[in-house]
């Protein structure tokens, strides 16, 4: 040891060490200088860039969806409201493992395969990165707290309060008010950029009915807010906000009470009721049965539920029977009779001797009257226009139609809206078919045959009309020719809605305005002309309406009709659920307005009732119309016809015709 110590040169070693210490010092200075240069670079030269990045990290602009406008009926009952719910949402970018998250969620709350399937389809849509996607709508309190308590296990999952549509009347307004449902990809693609922006925070969009027609009014304008979010996407505070503008509240002409009455009146039948206020054109009731629950569509209908709706080929609940056409049958006879009077093919005195069938000159085929199918057979005998209407004599109209020709029929019927849709806000309604030579050539490539005219004269053959068209046409009769376009929307945010109608339909003018009175009388007799000694000289609907309710305080004008069922698919015929014979039955129709023949009170309601396979217009559809009219005039308008002086004039009229 001592030897080693002696070898050390302490001064030299200290010099060496100090030298190294200096070198180390230089290194320290150089490295710190490099560090400071980097800091200067970051904090001075790139300061603005990093400030922007920092703001970009924390500040997020997000859409604030506007509250959708509410829909009220004419007396202020809610038809569509917004229900606050809690929705389980996912920000996919923040989820570490989907499988794990779903497994945890499944243990906490019930997630069906449908939820997951729908969630996956929502993921496929365009969306803003880091925006949330609904996984399950409507969490109850228990589910909410379970998810909240386990929040730390579920990154990217949150519970968001939301407003979703709810239809208190459910199926009752499913077709007319329609429903909203989640925006799909095609709809998004079809939006303009400005619209896309406006729908930035919106999940839903009107798909059918009023919800679709007035989507622009109901939706409102999107708002924005700038929020500060932390690294986990939680909103820490709100920095700025532009409030959304809520959609407009709209009021419909529809009356919920009448809607309910119409639905009840239809009972178990498949069919449609359309009721219009002839004074305004406002649609008071619009019911299609069977129906479905539109609330199912709002939060995403499961494929199972949807299958049930779609695969029901007999009831076709999704099919709107009010706006789809059927053969109108005898309900067109009053219009045809009016055409005959106006074009002077007939007058009040004109009459035929009805043998029960009609034959074109030189043609052996006989067009039979429906009376031929009765046990007694035979015809109506001496028949003028009034009797032809209240007895619904086919032969009379075969003859009249044949003599008028299809061109005259087409042009006159068109004035009542047949073959056309001039509803203000029911653009989706079908136009049906008002046949003409041009139409047949264009659609069938065949010329018009005289036999086609004969069929059309009793509302069969090529003639197709929707219940909405029939209600509109009968309201024009009720108005004595004044055309009021049918409409759903009554007021927007409390202000009366005055639609701008381009090319309004001109009023229907006839040569002698007494013709209107005559047709009204004829139609009143359909309901009120009692049985008498005369053979076949009563109103077709007398038994089921006026006779059934002898206390009836007002008069209604009506016309029954039945239409042959045209095509039934083989699928349905082979179905065991339903009696095939039921589906072969004729459709029953009834059009009406009331009160009729009342000098004090103008007609308040015009109605068309369509009963699928109802067989008889007069005995099945007629009482339904009566029930609806009763509700409107007596329960809703509360008209008191006993104090209103009865009109001896019209009494006399009926009696006069009796003789």
């Amino acid at each position: 040891m001592v030897g080693k110590w002696q070898l050390k040169d302490h001064e030299a070693e200290k010099k060496l060490f100090n030298h190294r210490l200096v070198v180390a010092g230089v290194f320290i200075v150089v490295l710190f200088a490099a560090l400071i240069l980097q800091l200067v670079n970051l904090q001075i030269y790139q300061h603005e860039y990093f400030t922007a990045r920092s703001d970009g990290n924390r500040m997020h602009s997000q859409y604030v969806p506007p509250a959708r406008g509410l829909i009220f009926d004419r007396s202020g009952n809610l038809l569509a409201e917004n229900q606050p719910i809690f929705t389980l949402t996912v920000v996919p970018e923040q989820v570490e493992s989907f499988d794990e998250t779903l497994e945890i969620l499944n243990r906490l709350i019930r997630l069906t395969d449908d939820d997951i399937e729908q969630f996956n389809s929502r993921l496929q849509r365009n969306r803003v990165p880091f925006s949330s996607v609904p996984l399950r709508y409507i969490l109850d309190e228990e589910e909410k707290s379970k998810v909240a308590v386990n929040g730390h296990l579920l990154p990217g999952i949150s519970i968001e309060p939301q407003l979703v549509r709810r239809y208190p009347l459910a199926g009752l307004t499913a077709h007319s008010v329609g429903y909203v449902s989640e925006i799909n990809r095609e709809e998004l693609d079809s939006l303009s950029d400005a619209e896309k922006e406006n729908y930035g925070g919106t999940n839903h969009r009107g798909k059918t009915g009023i919800e679709r027609t007035y989507e622009d009014l109901l939706h409102g304008t999107v708002g924005y807010e700038i929020v500060e979010k932390n690294n986990r996407g939680q909103v820490m505070r709100r920095l700025d906000r532009t409030d959304p503008v809520a959609g407009k509240n709209i009021t419909l002409h529809m009356d919920a009470q009448l809607q309910i009455a119409a639905e009840n009146a239809l009972g178990d039948f498949r069919g449609a009721v359309v009721a219009i206020d002839p004074n305004t054109g406002g649609i008071l009731a619009m019911v299609s049965k069977p129906t479905f629950n539109p609330n199912l569509f709002v939060t995403g209908i499961s494929s199972k539920d949807y299958d049930i709706l779609v695969k029901d080929e007999v009831n076709t609940p999704l099919f709107d029977r009010t706006t789809n056409p059927y053969p109108p049958g005898s309900t067109i006879k009053p219009f045809l009779g009016l055409a005959g009077l106006h074009h002077e093919h007939i007058d009040y005195d004109f009459a035929i001797e009805d043998p029960g069938y009609f034959r074109l000159p030189g043609v052996s085929y006989r067009w039979g009257d429906y009376t031929l199918r009765t046990q007694i057979g035979g015809g109506h005998g001496h028949t003028d226009l009034m009797k032809a209407i209240y007895q619904s004599c086919d032969t009379f109209f075969y003859d009249l139609g044949n003599r008028m020709g299809i061109d005259t029929i087409h042009d006159f019927m068109a004035k009542f809206g047949f073959g056309n849709n001039f509803a203000v806000d029911i653009a989706y309604a079908r136009t049906g078919v008002l046949p003409s030579r041009e139409w047949k050539m264009a659609s069938r490539g065949e010329p018009w045959y005289p036999g086609d005219t004969i069929n059309s004269s009793i509302g069969q053959g090529y003639m197709w009309a929707t219940p909405l068209q029939l209600a509109t046409a009968v309201s024009i009769i009720a108005n004595e020719g004044k055309v009021v376009s049918p409409r759903m929307l009554k007021a927007v945010d409390g202000e009366l809605f005055e639609p701008i109608i381009e090319n309004p339909m001109p009023d229907v003018m006839v040569n002698d305005s007494d013709y209107w009175r005559y047709i009204e009388d004829a139609m009143t007799m359909v309901v009120h002309r009692p049985f008498s000694d005369q053979f076949r000289d009563y109103g077709t609907a007398y038994e089921s309406i006026a006779m059934a309710d002898r206390e009836m305080s007002y008069k209604m004008a009506g016309k029954s009709g039945s239409a042959q069922v045209v095509g039934i698919s083989q699928d349905i015929l082979s179905s065991s659920d339903i009696m095939v014979s039921d589906l072969n039955k004729d459709h029953g129709l009834f059009i009406s307005f009331a009160p009729a023949q009342n000098s004090q009170i103008a007609p308040q309601i015009a109605i068309a009732v369509f009963v699928e396979n109802g067989e008889h217009g007069s005995s099945v559809a007629g009482p339904i119309a009566k029930q609806v009219i009763d509700t409107y005039l007596l329960d809703i308008l509360k008209l008191d016809f006993f104090t209103v002086e009865d009109t001896p004039h019209s009494e006399k009229q009926v009696r006069a015709s009796d003789e």
Partner: protein
């Protein structure tokens, strides 16, 4: 304590402590170092309070760590550093034994199986002890031999550095292994190893590094290295930390966003904001001026430590003090460079600032050694 017999007053060494410092000398404390350390620790507590979102428990625990550290420093400084010198070999042997023991009964925590958890005593990391023991050992070994060291001394030194390093690497704690090696290597460098050996070694490393990178480096290390050049290669993975940290530093600007107003840290964008990346919080809230202030404090500590090394009375003390100074600097620089994006992300704390009691106590023990060197007399040299 027969070492006290060798203590001899050295009036030349320090004029200031000569006059007023007798009391400090008596308690074996170096006032400038103590003031500097306490200033840094206070600044650290202030930053930690904000970084932890006002979590008082965290701050209190950190303060407790500091107090324990200062106590440990006092205790260590009471002993003449030569006591440690004479125990160097035994401590080194004991350290190696503990490292070997870790391999058998070690407990894993935070990815490294480096803890010993025996009933009755607090769990501890033998590798942490080696950060002090290795430079102590090399300083003893080279300090008692003629300098510059001969080749065979270098060989033995290298072996003494590598054995514990390899044992620590086996424990899967590469960061600590590197720091243990560095602390030993600094002694060798200060001991006057010839420049051509240093340069040769450096070139060899330089040449070997591509081969290492291509054939030996694990994938996650490669990505970390690549992200230094471009963090946006993997912006949500390996590059995320450095991107967020640079955003915090850069957006802090010259004056900072103000205390408690750092959006990056308070909205949890900075990962490890209490530990390795606490500098980003400081830079965001106190700006460039704040960092420069901290660098000044560190520089003050480094200057004082260098002075202690410079004025130490024997080669062992010089080497030990120098090595401690450089190791301390190494921590400061590597952490700062890593947080600002100059070096790959290595898990190293910012000394005395980052949350973590163990590291703080270790640093204070080192400064205790420095104070011991400064305040005890020169050992009688042959």
């Amino acid at each position: 304590m027969n070492n006290r017999d060798f203590i001899r007053q050295a009036p030349r060494t320090e004029s200031s402590s000569n006059r007023s410092g007798s009391i400090w000398r008596f308690v074996h404390t170096d006032p400038p170092l103590l003031v500097g350390l306490i200033l840094i620790c206070c600044f650290g507590l202030l930053v930690l309070y904000s970084a932890s979102d006002g979590n008082e428990t965290v701050v209190r625990r950190q303060a407790l760590g500091i107090v324990v550290g200062i106590l440990a420093m006092f205790i260590v400084s009471q002993f003449n550093v030569h006591v440690f010198r004479s125990w160097a070999l035994s401590m080194y042997g004991a350290g190696l034994a503990l490292l070997a023991l870790v391999l058998i009964i070690g407990v894993e925590a935070g990815g490294a199986r480096s803890w010993i958890d025996l009933p009755g005593i607090p769990s501890f990391q033998p590798s942490e002890i080696m950060k002090i023991v290795v430079p102590l050992m090399i300083a003893w070994y080279l300090g008692s031999r003629p300098l510059p060291p001969r080749f065979k001394h270098l060989f033995w030194s290298a072996l003494m550095i590598l054995i514990p390093a390899v044992l620590i690497i086996i424990q899967n704690d590469t960061g600590t292994a590197i720091m243990v090696m560095m602390s030993g290597l600094f002694v060798v460098l200060l001991a006057g190893i010839r420049w051509r050996i240093v340069i040769t070694g450096f070139l060899a490393l330089l040449l070997a590094s591509p081969a290492w990178y291509l054939f030996l480096a694990p994938e996650h290390i490669k990505i970390r290295i690549l992200t230094v050049f471009n963090p946006y290669l993997d912006p949500t993975g390996a590059g995320y930390n450095i991107i967020q940290s640079q955003i915090a530093i850069g957006s802090g600007g010259v004056y900072g966003k103000g205390y408690g107003n750092g959006a990056q840290s308070h909205l949890d964008f900075i990962p490890e904001s209490n530990t390795d990346f606490i500098l980003a919080v400081l830079a965001e809230e106190f700006g460039l001026l704040g960092i420069l202030f901290l660098i000044c404090l560190y520089l003050f500590i480094l200057l004082r430590s260098s002075y202690i090394a410079y004025s130490a009375k024997d080669m062992f003390s010089r080497l030990l003090a120098g090595s401690i100074t450089l190791t301390f600097f190494m921590y400061v620089f590597v952490n700062m460079a890593m947080v600002s994006g100059l070096l790959p992300v290595i898990g190293l704390p910012l000394p005395l600032i980052s949350r973590g009691g163990t590291a703080i106590v270790t640093f204070f023990v080192c400064f205790g050694l420095l104070m011991s060197i400064q305040t005890h007399g020169r050992l009688k040299e042959a």
